[in-house]
Symmetry: C2
Subunit: 299 residues, 2 copies
């Protein structure tokens, strides 16, 4: 199997009630790939500037991430600044400098085109579309999106949505997409348009998965120290799809387990700033927290 | 076993995006007792005015609820008016007419004083205290509270808190009580003060239970039609403690099941305005939804 991810690799400046970090490495592609790397060897498509630290690219490689699709262009790396309050589900974007991301036209290396699973992280839906045109016969395509694209490019967003199997989105985005406040009704509208599965991310409250005749809920890990919520959603998707790429089965029991692994990886991501926690995370810690999630909900 | 509940029996005027109802029967004591009546014969302590419909008291009796402690006083019944928006977790109190509730001094009938389980619904903590003084040797005491009492009578609230085994509260109340934003740290502060268990109610997101070496999460039922969220928390507590009163064991496996029954009863309460859904609810529907909750989280 192989898993291709298209997203951002970026610098983030982050302030939370627990501290501040300047220009640390982040981005949807980064979090997704690191989380997925605990299960498989994800193939990353992204762009960075010449200011991007080579040792982070070495880190990606050391985690088994394929960086053939990581373009290094003249100029500066995408930079996002955001602040979080005490409620980790609320964040405010302070500034977004697109830099080399402005002209990003994802081109898949030949070795990526036979991907079995494709994840279109939260980027311009027209770019998501262009990526889909470059893969031959993926078995599973998943997408993320955000309010910016839903508002500014609703037609493109829906066009991509109709072509994918799984939508990852938070509850606000799903309500915005469907103009339906009830999440189950909203989920049903999306399922009617094409996707087989809607994964509603609810931050600290976990996630709800809806299929046509399937519903599954996974909790967030009751976490004592949410140091930095950045990347939780992409780590969730990375754990989810990384696990599915490993087991090579898209059955309901595997999808349930995939969602729990997603929640497990997200729960580690938020324990430290940026990608710090992933640097020290061991596979046995992942397995141990997976078992803890089972105890957490068993009755 | 026997279960005593002290709370309000009231008229509610409710507006939600799905409709409006004038002066329908509600109150914490009402929802709690009806929910608990699916498992045991709760003994109700409350006060109503002469305008309270006798047929609702007949309904209580027909559900096996002991109304010996339901005082009927000259005057009008407590009346609350509230509005809900599209987010069922947000509610606005429009008016509160205490009426006969203003001079409520709960007096327990003799037949109530040997209660094994006592539930102190959300009333003035000094009244909660006076109820505790009237029961002989309860095995389990649980309380609810609200921001009003935490702000206006913090010392009384903490005094009751220290005397109970279980605190039911929503996340905002727990944060306010402890002045701690992280729910786990907040829970630990409360456990240090006396209670053995903190039940954090999270509305549509379910509930998290914390003990000293115990954590359990239960989801909310993914519900297509939240018609009226009023009484969800009290129905949760009623299902929870009603079940514990039935099984007569306070072990961890039973507490897990109790929490799921709590979530089940809450999920029915919100399907119709006021107590309507409880009038038609059958025990087999309760059992069937309990099994559905298991499927919802199993992996």
């Amino acid at each position: 199997m192989s898993l291709v991810i298209v997203g951002s690799v970026a610098f983030d400046t982050i302030r939370t009630p627990w501290g501040k970090r300047d220009r640390i490495v982040g981005g949807s592609g980064t979090y997704f790939s690191l989380a997925a790397s605990f299960f498989t060897r994800p193939k990353m498509v992204a762009v960075v500037g010449e200011d991007f630290p080579p040792e982070v690219i070495d880190l990606f490689k050391s985690r088994g991430i394929d960086t053939a699709g990581l373009e290094i262009r003249p100029g500066r790396t995408f930079h996002w600044e955001g602040h979080y309050g005490y409620d980790p589900n609320q964040r405010e974007t302070i500034s977004t400098e697109l830099n080399v991301f402005r002209d990003f036209r994802p081109v898949l290396p030949n070795s990526y085109r036979d991907a079995n699973i494709v994840f279109l992280a939260n980027i311009d839906p027209d770019l998501q579309d262009s990526v889909l045109a470059q893969v031959r016969r993926p078995e599973l395509v998943a997408m993320d999106t955000m309010n910016l694209w839903i508002a500014s490019k609703p037609e493109s967003t829906w066009r991509v949505l109709k072509a994918v199997d799984i939508l990852f989105a938070n509850d606000e985005e799903i309500r915005m997409l469907t103009q339906e406040t009830n999440l189950i009704k909203a989920g049903r509208k999306i399922l009617a348009a094409g996707p087989r599965l809607v994964v509603t991310k609810k931050g600290e409250h976990g996630a709800l998965l809806f299929g046509k005749k399937f519903v599954f809920g996974v909790l967030g890990h009751p976490c004592e120290d949410v140091v930095d919520p950045t990347g939780a959603g992409d780590s969730f998707a990375g754990g989810f799809l990384g696990y599915l790429d490993k087991v090579r089965k898209f059955t309901r029991p595997e999808i349930r387990r995939a969602a729990v692994y997603g929640s497990v990886l997200a729960s580690f991501a938020i324990e430290d700033f940026g990608i710090e926690r992933f640097k020290s995370l061991r596979p046995d810690e992942v397995e141990s927290r997976f078992r803890l999630f089972r105890r957490l909900v068993s009755f």
